[in-house]
Each structure stands twice: as C-alpha cells, then as structure tokens.
Amino acid sequence: MNQSTPPFPAWGIPDPVRGVTGTEPLLAVDDLHVEFATRQGTVKAVNGVSYSLNPGETLAVLGESGSGKSVTAQAIMGILDAPQARIPRGRIRFRGTDLLRLKEDARAQVRGRRIAMVFQDALSALNPVFTVGSQIAEMFRVHQGMSRRDAEARAVELMDRVRIPGARQRLHDYPHQFSGGMRQRIMIAMAIALDPEVLIADEPTTALDVTVQAQIMELLAEVQRDSGMGMILITHDLGVVADVADKIVVMYGGRIVENALVHDVYRTPAHPYTKGLLESIPRVDRKGRELYAISGTPPNLLDMPPGCAFAPRCPYRQDNCTTEAPPLYRIGSTRGSACHYWREVLDGSHG
C-alpha cells in the first residue's frame, strides 16, 4: 500500500460528495523540485510543489505568471527541456507508480495516452508544414494502428466534436489557415481522443470566446463524468475556475501558497497573494479608474529571497516574514495557506 506521506493536506481522504474511498489518488505530485541550468545561474522554477487529483475531479492551478505551473505540468508529462532541466527532489505518483523512476520507454507508454496534455502554446504545438487532418490522423495511426482511411474519418469526427465548422472540407488545411481558437480546440480534441485517465489542460481556452469556451468546458465535463478522467486545469481565468473547479491550488514563486476547495477561496482567501488576485478582477464599478494590481515585481528565481517569496509585495508583512519561510499551515481539514498571518488575511483585518 501507500507508505509515503500524503501531500498536504491529504486530499486522498474519503470525499462525501464523490464517495472516493481509495487511499491512493489518481495522480499525486509530492515535494517536486525543478531547476534549470542557465548561463545566468540556476533557475529554481519549482520549489516543493505537492498536489493530488482523484478520478473525475477538477483541480485548478492558479498563480502568478512564471510561478511554475507549466513547468510542473511538463515534469508530470516528462517533457522538460533537456539537458538544462533537473529534478533534484520529488515524486510524481500515477496510480501508485513513481513516474520519475520509470525508464523512458515505460514513460512513453503513459505520455499522451494515459496522461494527456493540452499545451499552453497550442499554436506552435501543431506542425506548420503538415495539414491539420494528417496530424490528427497520424495520432490514430501511431497509437491505434488505424488505416489511413479510418484515421481520416476519425479526424473529421474529432474536429466536429469541438465544433470546427465544415470539418471535412478543412481537413487538408494547414495550421496557419485556422484561427487561434480553432487550433486550440483541435489540440483539445487530440488530447482527449485516446481517452486519457488524466488530462492536463494548460490555458486551454485563452483564445476562445465565452460561448465556445462554455461548450468546450461542458464537453470536458462530459468526458469526466463518462470516463472518470481527472483534470488539472491551469488557467488565469477566475471565471472559468469558479465555474468548473472542485479544488484549487495557488502558486507563487514555484511554491503552493494556498490550497482549498473552490468555494472557500472565493469566499475568504487565506493568502495575501490570492486575495490580491481576486481584488484585481475588473468589475464594473471600477470602470474609468485604475484597477487594483499587486504592486512590485515577481521574485527572481535565480536568487530567491529567504523567508516568504511574497514578502516584498505583501501588505500583511511583519519582520519575521523576511527571515522565516512560512510552511503550508493547515487550516481545517481541506485547506492550507503558506502565510504566517493567514488568520489576519482570513479575517480581512488590515492589508
């Protein structure tokens, strides 16, 4: 059974809503560290990230641009930039097996098939010199050994499924002939085509208007209901997160600074960064005025400050924040905040 300590807080505990009773989550990232060797020095992109995902569940990953959301996802997929990238510590357990200890050929069996990913840069993920139809068909031929004709038929089906108008006619078009949102939908269609157990969707809907976005999110929810696919949704869109997430982790400077069930985060954020994010959303009563924005600049990953990475920008900062790194304090059974002053943040007193 599972001898390792569960990620904190333990998401694997029985969930009354879903009736998940297993002790081993579908996917568990545990104390993951990722660094990149660059000419300027070592970039510490991920510094001890833990999160976990159960079947059918949607985990939203929020956070600062550059906080390590995509790098964490790349580590799960096993596609980090070699040779600069290094994983000095951590585990990524998929149905109990540590992916980081698997040999490359075993890993390739998982990648794309059992754990699939929609890349943030959907536009460059498609090869510009091949037609879109042939790229989708190629996937079916390689993974499922389909004939060319069957694979093409499946490709049309797939494009229909994500509402590409006139799919059959456009099979032989090249990626640049599709709009940004269409390419994004094609990537989503390809990712779910092989019925993965885990889908990592990195900013899957940035190029989509809200009506198509709603349809795509509904399609993904349907797949989740039918097959129990777990989804890690990396996004900046707090509206989408509010709509579909079960639980949320918030990242800052390569760490998780808050984790909680979706309703708790929006009602009462427990970390000053999360609070700042929620206050930055444009609302109609701020029209014509400056938007609230967290002041200062993101931390330098080449030279992380001691103490709390958010301290230089934090309205709640006290003297000890710049010297003692806050652990992920436990708040109740489903919640954590990496802020020494989470009580004050929760109360909404000062700051």
Binding site: F36, T211, L278, V284, L291, A293
Partner: protein, 338 residues
C-alpha cells in the same frame, strides 16, 4: 476616456476572402472563406474600440488588415488619412510607424533565436530614425521596465520566459515606435489577473499621456468593458452590433450579443449550478458557406422568414440608441452582474 479628436482610423466596407482549396497534393480552389465580409467603423484619437466575437469570426484577420499585413479583397483602411490597403515600400513603412500591433500569440510571434533586447529593439532597425543608435539599449530597458519585466533580462531568450512574460515582451515591442494606434489582439489573455490589471492600467496611462488609440480584441468581456469607450460585436465576418460600452453591456439589442453576455463566466462559484445561460443551438456555420440573409439566423431563437431573405444592416433600430444588425432588435437585460 473622452475621445473627441479626429478619426485616426477609417475603415470602409472592408472585405477579406481566403481561397478554400481541396486535395492534399494538387490543390485546387473550390471556394472562398469569407473571413471579413464588409466591415466599417471609425476610431478617433485617444479612443478605445473593443472587439468581441465568436472564435473564428474574423477578428485577427481584421487586425492584420488594419496593419496592412494582409491585402484586402475589397474596401479601404485609412490610417491618419492615408490609405494602407494599397500602400507599398517606403509609403507603407511610414504608415506602419503610426499603427503597431500586439499579436495574439506570443509563442510564434517571437523569434526564438533573438534575444529579448533584439526583439524589442527590432522596430528601431526597421525605422532607424526613430531612435539614435546609442540610445536604443536604454530605450529597450525602459520599455522592459514599463511592462513590468526586469531591465536586466535583455540578453535572455524567449523560451526562458513564461507565457505571460512573453506576452509582455510583445507589448513592449509594440510600444517601441510610440505609435498613434495600437492594435491589440488578445493582449492580456495569457496573463494572471494581477499582471493583466497592471497591463490594462499601463495601456490606460499611455492613452492619457500620449493620446494613443486602441483597437482591443479580447474574449474577456469584463476586461473589454473596463478598457473600451465603444464595443463592436462580430459574428461570421460581420459587425453585428456597435455602441458605447454601457449600451452594449447594459442594453444589448442583438440576440447574439445577448447570448454572448449570458455565457460569460462569473468569478464567483456560489450558485454556479443555477446560472441562467442562453445556450446557442447548432454549430457555427462555415465562413465558406454563410447562411443567406442574417448570418446568425441558423442559431437564433427569434428568426422569422425575413431573416433568411434579407440581410439586416448595421443601423439604428427602434428603441435603441446604438447600431445593431437584427430585424428584431430588442433591448434585453441579460447580465445583471456586469
């Protein structure tokens, strides 16, 4: 922001059709994709026009036409009084200096082999008189700082930055020549909301200080509302509603606009199971074969016979103070939370 000045951008009956080809080896043309199909509007100095619409409706194509990056099939685009559609060589170069663009996609639009400093400074290579050589590095660093990046990053390469950071590199480059018009195609959708707020504040500040005019394409309706003086709603190559922000959001008259606003996700999970949305029936029609009459009729719950027979023009309609293109335009309050 009050925009009362002269029109810096005049767009008339703008059309762009792409050839639709068939066959993997011998490509023969079998029709056209009507990406932009007759669009007209003005943009005044210091004004922001927001553009929203369904994915694939022609927004990016419109942006490229405005920039002279695509040649129009028909119609005209005048930038500060000068026609861009048939400008060539030095002429085109001169017009381009007054209109710059921030691209939708920061990954493919940044050359991976160039340093960030070279990317942002590239416009100075194309327009050497814009900044003296000795001053360029300092300017590039100031631009980096302006968009919230570290000025010491000039020697790093695009792949060493996160998606959001790369988006800001694109914005910095767009500002390098201090243009009069900035066309922004999804400039903030890759950014977290706090940096997004910084960029929006930055764009607003530049507008106040320099009188910049923006064409601002985005899917985030609350961002568009915040930044825009007027908003245009596109559907399948057409502008179907155009008005001041308060009119579009408060009194939308076109059924598509109403459906769009009702689908906007609200950043509050409470009551998410009960939220009323106008769910559009059917799939978006192909721009290669748009419906007759009103292009929205195949998905519209109000459609009557006339909608298939006669194209509704973008004009003032009874009971509204802004233009819409629907035979049955009627103000309908869909989104109390906006």
């Amino acid at each position: 922001m009050a925009a009362t000045g002269e029109a810096v951008l005049e767009v008339r009956d703008l059309v762009k059709h792409f050839p639709l080809t068939e066959g993997a080896v011998f490509r023969k043309q079998v029709g056209v994709i009507r990406a932009v199909d007759g669009i007209s509007f003005d943009l005044r100095r210091g004004e922001t026009l927001g553009i929203v619409g369904e994915s694939g409706c022609g927004k990016s194509t419109l942006a490229k036409l405005l920039m002279g990056l695509e040649r129009p099939t028909g119609g005209s685009v005048r930038v500060c009084g000068r026609e861009i559609a048939d400008a060539k060589g030095a002429d085109l170069k001169r017009v381009r200096r007054t209109i710059q663009m921030v691209m939708q996609d920061p990954y493919t639009s940044l050359n991976p082999r160039m340093t960030v400093g070279d990317i942002i400074g590239e416009p100075y290579e194309i327009h050497p008189d814009a900044a003296p050589k000795g001053d360029r590095r300092r300017r590039v660093q100031a631009l980096l700082e302006l968009v919230g990046l570290n000025p010491d990053d000039v020697n790093r390469y695009p792949h060493q930055f996160s998606g959001g950071q790369r988006q800001r590199i694109g914005i910095a480059r767009g500002l390098a020549l201090q243009p009069q018009i900035l066309v922004c195609d999804e400039p903030v959708s890759a950014l977290d909301v706090s940096i997004q707020a910084q960029v929006i504040n930055l764009l607003a500040r530049l507008q106040r200080e320099l009188g910049l005019a923006y064409v601002f394409i985005a899917h985030d309706l609350s961002v568009v509302r915040h930044i825009s003086d007027r908003v245009g709603v596109m559907y399948l190559g057409k502008m179907i509603e155009l008005g001041r922000d308060a009119e579009i959001y408060g009194q939308p008259a076109h059924p598509y606009t109403q459906a769009l606003l009702s689908a906007a996700p609200v950043p509050d999970p409470d009551g998410r199971e009960r939220r009323g949305r106008i769910v559009l029936q059917g799939d978006p029609p192909s721009p290669a074969d748009p419906p007759s009459g009103c292009r929205f009729r195949t998905r519209c719950w109000k459609a009557q016979d006339i909608c298939a027979q006669q194209e509704p023009l973008l004009q003032l309609r009874p009971g509204t103070w802004h233009e819409s293109a629907c035979h049955f335009a009627q103000v309908h309050d869909v989104m109390p939370s906006f």
